[in-house]
Symmetry: C2
Subunit: 245 residues, 2 copies
Amino acid sequence: MSSRQAFIPHPASAGPGQGLSPVVRGRAVTRTSDRVYDELVSAIRELRLVPGASLSETDLAERLHVSRTPVREALARLADAGLVHVVPQVGTRVGLIGLRDVEEARFVRESLEISAFEVACEGSAPDVSTLRELLERQEHSYRTEDYNAFFAADEALHGEIFNLSGYPGAWQAVQRTKLQLDRLRRLVLPDLAAVRVLIDEHRSIVDALEATDIAAGRTLISRHARRAIELAPSLRARYPDYFTD
Amino acid sequence: MSSRQAFIPHPASAGPGQGLSPVVRGRAVTRTSDRVYDELVSAIRELRLVPGASLSETDLAERLHVSRTPVREALARLADAGLVHVVPQVGTRVGLIGLRDVEEARFVRESLEISAFEVACEGSAPDVSTLRELLERQEHSYRTEDYNAFFAADEALHGEIFNLSGYPGAWQAVQRTKLQLDRLRRLVLPDLAAVRVLIDEHRSIVDALEATDIAAGRTLISRHARRAIELAPSLRARYPDYFTD
DNA sequence: GCCAGTGCACTTGTATGCAAGTATGCTGAT
DNA sequence: ATCAGCATACTTGCATACAAGTGCACTGGC
């Protein structure tokens, strides 16, 4: 076989590369198509499937021990989300990280999160207990250097802000466009100092929310949202094949 | 206008062979799956497929003169977008208009459009020539009472605001969440007076943009975004079967 | 050595067959 | 008349077979 580098793990992690975990076929309480979709999304987000990697329906099917049908349905949804590109009769590739898409995701996220912050401040004192708890989880992840746990708690914290605003669905809208940005953050994640900064920013945002200080919130969220992006140039220099305009 | 034939006016009337788009089986430049998807999206948006209508893969397949496979892929993408709901081994239905989803779509749209407005004002005097042209098209649609043309020009105008902001992709993000709201507007659209109000509001927004009056833009866009929603209660009273919380 | 041409291997797109689950309506008994 | 039980038709999920197009490598000729 030629370049079978479709399932490289994280480019920076030296751990043994585990590809896609096979989806067990059998009595399905959940649909196989959904499992394949979830598996592919997480694989792309976690860069186990690197940008530009060529996918093959038949290859994925036998790798996941399913037929092509559910794989095709999952790929159709992924193509709809812009995570993969399908060229008929030619092939399917994992989409590259588009810097323009990343910048637009930043715009969407910053705008909506600031708006959610403002709405959350409008009522009386918002309940920040869940946010405090998530901050604790992040601190724990920082101490144990568990990047995956931090990543999950990070997601949950920003989602909680939308919950407090009363528009939890808006967070789903953000996440759709944010997938490009997530991959960027994955590249920079194994940096303990950067995680320290992010947690501190999170705490400041939570403090501002508790004080219903809208002006501070706007500034903090804006700066926080632009944090990941400012590293894009150096990351592109390090992984040029993963990026595009 | 390229208004295709409605293939399902109402779920109860299962008339014979309501001709679909002439989908020639076999030789196809565009993928059958995509054509089916586009057809279904427009049918749902234009309420030719009413909320709650039950769909059947086999029925759609023979109606469109294709096999179930492309229909299934289209439905999978539609389910991902929240336009249809698939219950395994039970059936597929067009999603109801969720008032909560509508309100969240309003939030997303208002937030992003205001942000785009602000960014578009940041530079020097923005080029509003395209917007003026779209306003003229809307006036023409108003005079000829061509609601479909007005709907299209309305879409284009709001999209142009995002173009001027430099974040055209954000408009795509809005449109995804806005589908619920579009159906609501379809219900209220055949009202000439309402169209008159909308056009006037559009003109005010364009004026504010040309004058780079951010404060006015915020107020105008906010009011404009809430315009469609304020009719939701009466619409729900009129079409109770189409709505849900 | 180089280039043109061709065949093959691989890709995705589509159609069809089969399996499993659910709702419905009919039938028979009480 | 009413209700329990069952057969049947209909639904979606999955696997497989076939079709069509593309790129590439190999081969033959120059």
